[in-house]
């Protein structure tokens, strides 16, 4: 076609014109040697049935559309949460390009991270020289206060010794003798990004704490875990701590570096846990983690220093937030202020106003294990049923915990938990046992397309909607956001289903 300069159309509409449509049909017919249309349709139908589901669930080796990433991504997530810290990933450089792109696509922010750029010679001789040169270059160029090292699978497979390499680099003067270079081995073939979060955070705190004497204070450490809403959530948590008057240290606070202003200056570093606070965090009275499965080793380590540790499962909703606040109150001895009680009341009020639209609705959820738990518990609180709950990186322990949650409520009666499964399994679940709504990350849109289940985007990554990471999902106000997102989709679907004039629009109500 030829474009109209007053109304230039891009891919969204350009290819709908007859010339292009004809071209596509011709290409398929004459050059692609494609399967006949009826065969494709027949096969598409077959993939929706129970027979296919059973074959699909028999898979033992193949993973299709998983909802998890690899360890170093979690390590980078942690590293950028410390003051002036640059993540340094030892291994192949392509990995780092991927992590940076991945975070930038989600947060719409720069993501700084360097690689030791190991190539074939390093695969043979080891990456010591890459570490020596890499640390020196990074230190001179980007003037960090700390370099946090993690590894790609390449370095892990050849068995590079991070501790030895970093010591040697230090001796060779790559960085000053007292310059902090914590490290963590983060093999991509073990666990997932949440494991990498855990390993990296443990690496950093143990770097500062090892061999130090603990002098207990009244401060509280707080760990968010790998969280697509880290910007909104950490700010909300700080507000809550402020209202309660709790002295605290957020460990790995990346809420500023992934939300910098457009004011003419690029900030490679912004905010973050100060290194002094990270050191002093050893003395805290307790450490609270919002995501158990992101912090198992870290909390173990912290507990051994003599601190109390408390882990939640990504608390969302009234009861989960109640529990979170009551634990804060118990640990610190500070009362929950009226302001928060009032917020609670407002959330309950909002739920009461709207729950008739959610009650009894069936949901499928997938995501990281803690997120799934938090969302499922909130849905049950709203009278909805989290029918399918799936986590690619959820394990046996998580499965038991989810089941216990289902068993605790009549709304969990017909719900099932699927640990270690992927989104191709979810496709079969949605096709054979349909639900009203799906909750997941951006990749859920393929499930929406294939199964017709409307997607509510909550999770990581979200690439195709903007700015939701700026909103909290924790605290009463966070739960309010989640409630509104659920309701918006529910009402949108109601309108979509009633919009046909003279057919269904009697229910196209202006008041709902």
């Amino acid at each position: 076609m030829t474009q109209d300069v007053e109304n230039v159309v891009d891919h969204l509409n350009l290819f709908r014109s007859p010339e292009y449509k004809e071209m596509f049909a011709d290409k398929r017919k004459n050059f692609e040697f494609a399967h006949p249309d009826d065969k494709v349709e027949e096969m598409a139908e077959w993939t929706k049935g129970w027979e296919y589901r059973e074959l699909n669930f028999k898979r033992e080796a193949l993973t299709v559309n998983p909802a998890k990433a690899c360890q170093p991504l979690g390590a980078v997530f942690v590293a950028v949460g410390f003051e002036g810290t640059i993540p340094f990933v030892h291994g192949s450089q392509g990995c780092v390009a991927y992590y940076r792109s991945h975070f930038s696509r989600h947060f719409k922010e720069p993501s700084s991270c360097v690689s030791s750029s190991m190539t074939e010679d390093a695969a043979v001789f080891g990456g010591l020289n890459n570490m020596i040169d890499g640390l020196q270059n990074t230190h001179s160029m980007y003037k960090p206060k700390m370099i946090a090292v993690s590894t790609t699978c390449m370095a892990e497979v050849i068995g590079d010794d991070l501790n030895g390499f970093i010591s040697t680099a230090r001796e060779k003067g790559s960085v000053p003798a007292d310059f902090p270079v914590p490290y963590a081995h983060t093999p991509a073939f073990v666990g997932s990004h949440i494991t990498g979060y855990d390993n990296a955070l443990k690496g950093i705190v143990s770097y500062f704490w090892e061999g130090k004497e603990r002098t207990p204070t009244e401060k509280i450490n707080f760990i968010g875990g790998f969280d697509g809403y880290t910007v909104g959530n950490l700010r909300e948590v700080k507000r809550i701590f402020g209202l309660m008057g709790i002295e605290h240290t957020i460990l790995a606070d990346n809420s500023d570096v992934w939300d910098t202003p457009a004011d003419g200056e690029f900030r490679m570093y912004d905010g973050g846990t100060t290194l002094d606070d990270a050191k002093a965090a050893l003395n805290a009275k307790a450490t609270i983690s919002m995501q158990q499965y992101c912090t198992e080793k870290t909390l173990d380590y912290i507990a051994k220093t003599g601190q109390e540790t408390v882990a939640f499962n990504h608390p969302v909703g009234v009861a989960a937030t109640d529990k979170f606040l009551m634990e804060l109150a118990r640990i610190t001895g500070k009362p929950i202020p009226d302001a928060l009680t009032k917020e609670r009341g407002r959330l309950v009020d909002a739920i009461a106003d709207s729950s008739s639209h959610i009650h009894g609705k069936k949901f499928a959820i997938y995501g990281d294990p803690d997120l799934c738990y938090g969302l499922a518990s909130f849905l049950m609180e709203l009278g909805a049923e989290p029918t399918h709950v799936l986590s690619t990186n959820g394990g046996k322990e998580w499965e038991i915990k989810m089941q216990a949650l289902f068993d605790s409520s009549p709304f969990g009666k017909s719900c099932h938990v699927y640990p270690g499964k992927d989104l191709w399994h979810m496709r079969s679940l949605l096709n054979t046992e349909p639900v009203d709504f799906l909750i997941g990350n951006t990749y859920g849109k393929y499930l929406e397309r294939d199964t017709g289940t409307p997607l509510i985007r909550i999770g990581f990554p979200v690439f195709d909607r903007h700015h939701h990471h700026r909103y909290p999902v924790w605290g009463y106000q966070g739960a309010m956001n989640v409630l509104v997102w659920l309701l918006d989709k529910i009402f949108d679907e109601m309108d979509k289903n009633t919009i046909v004039p003279a057919k269904t629009d009697y229910s196209f109500d202006i008041i709902r």
Partner: protein, 483 residues
């Protein structure tokens, strides 16, 4: 206060000197060879290229796996491409490149899916060949309409000594000669994506072409061409194909955007290969020339000037019918092109642009900017070779700043000092420059717009560049009380 060419060259020299100061001596010496200023009349851009990136400097480059799975093989729609190794590589590259295609995803097409062997520790310790065999069996059960499988190796495969070639051969035999292609594109190979392109090209040669003619019934015509090196990002190949067809040619294959295995198999029957991305697919073009005697011609479908020249160049390989066809197409779109330029040139004239992109774009898009009256004042390749820099001399002006495999630091400093009106680069760079208040367009993904190829694409290109530069938000970056 525009500078003379001599002043620009002097400024560039000072600027390069300044950025090099931040490096340790050894690194400064190495980086110095990659930075320079184009001197009119020289045969290349005076920079070194295609050598290892320096550790710790924040290179923008990716890896061989990205070049093979992400670029060359991934878009072939009716084959299943297994990301073989740990989960991450496939996850981060999942559907991120906007290689448009038409097909029923999960049934007869698979481009926007992530198939992975999700290696666990035991696979590293005991090897992954058995698992790979089982994966192929499971693919055959669950995706029976797939027309072939490729194994895209991630780093560990080459390190643990797996024999993916043996597995592929064995399974191919078991499945009646099914095409199964093992690709040794481990991320640590080579210095960038570039080797991955080459390796992928070679596997097409060895595992597709060398298997003989799969479609002897296919009837050729004297006007058959194959589009090589167009990945159909946002529909680029479609906006190109339509022009070639309008001039009377028959496009028998697209490599590889919206491509199918049959198209790859039939490519040796083309009369001419038309090559857009030279960097990623010159290898297979040269091979087809040597082996099948198919000539190839490079073309450039960015902006009307280059499109016009390219259509004529392509037509020159055919008879008068096609030559007339080319003129007809040029005439058909001229009015629209004039209208686009008339509308946008006044808004964009004399604006300056700095680019840093991959394969062909650091040079290919320059003409499109110039059609709008804009000037490209700096450019560089993520993974270019010297032959790319030689080709670049036909595009850039005297005094253009050249930076090969630019580091995060260098790029930031160059832009800070030169203050171009627009930067065109990738997602990792986008937000850095937008924070600095510099308008930006992603020139890999077309910033989720496109197509940019062809006449239809140029209208979109012009609209988008205007949208970026003349965005009112750039007037808001300073708080009034801070001005």
């Amino acid at each position: 206060m525009s500078l003379t060419v001599e002043q620009v060259k002097e400024r560039n020299q000072d600027l390069i000197k300044e950025v090099l100061e931040v490096y340790p001596d050894k690194t400064a010496k190495r980086r110095a060879k990659h930075l320079g200023t184009f001197e009119e009349g020289k045969s290349d851009c005076g920079v070194k290229s295609n050598v290892k990136s320096i550790p710790g400097v924040m290179t923008i480059r990716g890896c061989a796996y990205a070049g093979s799975k992400g670029v060359v093989w991934g878009p072939i729609k009716d084959m299943i491409h297994i990301s073989h190794g740990p989960v991450g590589c496939g996850q981060y590259s999942w559907a991120a490149r906007r290689n448009y295609y038409i097909g029923t995803t999960g049934v007869d097409s698979f481009v926007t899916m992530q198939f992975t062997s999700d290696f666990q520790e035991k696979d590293i310790v005991f090897g992954g060949d058995k698992k790979l065999e089982k994966i192929m069996d499971e693919i055959q059960v669950l995706f029976p309409l797939n027309k072939g499988i490729t194994v895209q190796s991630e780093c560990p495969i080459g390190l643990i000594g797996d024999d993916i070639e043996a597995v592929s051969k064995k399974k191919s035999k078991e499945y009646d000669g099914k095409t199964i292609v093992p690709v040794r594109c481990e991320g640590f190979r080579g210095v960038s994506q570039s080797l991955g392109h080459h390796i992928a090209n070679d596997t097409i040669r060895d595992w597709i072409f060398d298997k003989g003619d799969k479609h002897p019934e296919f009837v050729g015509t004297p006007y058959d061409v194959a589009i090589i090196g167009d990945y159909n990002i946002g529909g680029d190949a479609w906006a190109s194909r339509i022009l070639l067809e309008e001039m009377g040619l028959r496009v028998i294959a697209q490599w590889s955007g919206d491509g199918s295995i049959a198209e790859l198999e039939n490519s040796p029957k083309a009369k001419l290969n038309v090559l857009h991305c030279y960097r990623s697919m010159n290898y297979i073009s040269r091979h087809m020339e040597e082996k099948f005697g198919i000539p190839w011609v490079e073309y450039n479908f960015f902006g009307p000037s280059k499109i016009e020249a390219s259509l004529r160049e392509i037509a020159s390989h055919f008879d008068d019918k096609i030559k007339e066809g080319a003129e007809r197409v040029i005439a058909k779109y001229r009015k629209m092109m004039d209208a686009v330029i008339e509308k946008y040139k006044p808004r964009l004239a004399d604006k300056t642009v700095m680019l840093f992109v991959g394969g062909l774009r650091p040079r290919h898009v320059i003409g499109a900017y110039e059609d709008l009256g804009m000037n490209v004042v700096g450019t560089g390749y993520e993974f270019g070779h010297n032959d790319d820099y030689q080709r670049t001399t036909h595009y850039v002006k005297d005094g253009t700043l050249i930076y090969d495999d630019v580091t995060g630091y260098e790029f930031e400093k160059f832009v800070e000092k030169i203050q171009p009106d627009l930067v065109g680069s990738g997602i990792k760079e986008k937000y850095v420059f937008q924070k600095m208040g510099v308008p930006f367009r992603q020139m890999h993904s077309w910033d989720y717009s496109g197509p940019y190829h062809g006449y239809d694409g140029f209208a979109i290109f012009a609209r988008d560049m205007d949208m970026a530069i003349n965005n009112p938000v750039w007037g808001l970056t300073k708080a009034p009380w801070k001005k």
